[in-house]
Amino acid sequence: MNSIALKAKNIVKYFNDPVTLKVLDDISFEVKTGEFVSIVGKSGCGKSTLLYILSTMDTTYEGELEVNHQKVTGLSLNQLAAIRNSSIGFVFQFHYLLPDFTCLKNVMIPALRLGKYSYKEVEERAYEKLKMFGVEEQALKHAGKLSGGQQQRVAIARALINDPAIIMGDEPTGNLDSKNTAIVFDLFQRLSKEFQQTIITVTHDEDFARRSDRIIEMSDGRIINQH
């Protein structure tokens, strides 16, 4: 229960355009398995930048990052892609589904990429996830035809399909009304409590943050408070 899902050590990040600017200054923290962490702070404090570094998509930083006890700093882009595929689920502020595919396919694609299960098993698992979020009836509709809330739920189902150790959210409720926000929050809470999945979200929603296990508060590229 006390194992570490993610560990950041002395992360420093600069933006070089238009002038060199230190956006993250010596960030160090750990997240335990099954923990539900919210990162909050004013716009421009570097919280999204931090999240993209944690997600392994941004590789231009100083310091060290460990995901699932594996040091990921310095790995090649293709190795990182494989790690993201198997261990990290990502939920964006805007749902970002692939509109040419059905919802079911959207959820299936990362799992097909992983290739751990057969096509049929993947299909069943994807269907299960959709059911879990109450959008199974939309499974065969094209992603573009759904409402925003439904799309975000499909996107979360997609993030979960490979049973990732960590789920990251970049303002996952930022674009949703209060009813859908509540649904998404409940889902996250269930995932962390029932399935022991680690959740790290960046959010502006104070209510959302307050109800999570831990809040990391950032200002000007530093962590100023954790509680």
Binding site: A81, F90, Y96, D100, K105, I109, G115, Y119, R158
Partner: protein, 419 residues
Amino acid sequence: MKLSVNSEIAFTYLFARKKQTVIAALGVMFGVSMFIFMQSLMKGTNDYFEKQSFNTTPHIRLYSENKVADTHILDSFIKDASVKILVNPKQLLQRQGIINPNGVISRLRKDPELSFITPQVTTNVIYTSGSVQLNGTVAGVDIIQEDKMFDVQGNMVVGDFRDLNRVNNSILIGKGIAGKLSLHVGDNITVASGTGSPMIMKIIGIFQSGVKLVDETKSYANIVQAQSLLGKDRSYVTDIKINLKDYNKAPAKAREIETITGYKAEDWVQANAQLKTAFKIRAMILNSVVGVILLVAGFGIYNILNMTIYEKIKEIAILKATGFSGYSVISIFLQQAIYIGLMGAVIGIGIGFLITYGFSKVYIGGPNPTSGTLSYIPMSFYIPHYVEAIFFGLITTIAAGYFPARKASRVDPVTIIRG
């Protein structure tokens, strides 16, 4: 259906944009079918002319050539180190013809690469009928061998060429001669060479080769008759005609025979130099046209994939975020290019074959002075053309697809997703 996820995404994108996909494939199809059509037409025509040239020229012609005087006689008289210079050297008349032709022939017969060897006596003559005279040449041949090499039978208009061996003093004349002198089979014609006495010969047949110049001058006689026409003995032979099993080896073989026999061996490539040049120029013109068509098709594919990538840049970012590597992204977009190329190539092959077949049925007039023996447009159905067409079609599409695909693979998900 079992498909890799990359292929599945590639297919979905192709089907989501049916119109563009079809238009891009049409471009490739057009290029491939034109490639096949033009190659078939070119090879058909070239083959026709090559075959046509083998109707009159052998693969190798061996003959004795006059030589320019050199200093070797001087050398044998004045045996010192002085340099001898001949002023204004002239051509020396050799003893005309090939010395000991039977020896040369039996020696050549030992070479397994040669399929036909036949001696010939060629002489310039004047044909006379009534008061009209006509210049021409008589080829004294073994007509049976001649038929095997040049298909005399196929050119016969009237008569039986075998009568050349059966009827004494017989001659087989070209249709042009028959027309100009208004002669028919069974008529007599006076033939005079420069050296022997004129002979009256009986016309046993008329042939038409399709080459006007040949039909108006050439006639065949028995080799013995030609020898006596020239007033020469039975060992007098001017040319030895040689055919090979593989005519493409003729130039090399000709050099070999030249070294062995010491006579001039002229291969068909030298004899038809203008033909080869024409082939080359034709190939250049047609290949550049086809090249441009394929290039345009390539730009079409490049354009469409570039647009797709521009439109789908967010989706590419998402795919990368969910764990698709750069290789996978290249694979997705390159596969789209390849499927477009394959689709175009396969349809193009079909259309190319149909066009080729259609043109091969176009009648352009039977044997007449303007078209020779050509009655249909010569088209060749040559499998390697189709293989090449697929190859070039695919190369174009892969090249056109690779650059957009590489661009897609370099999309940085962070910049795109953060906006």
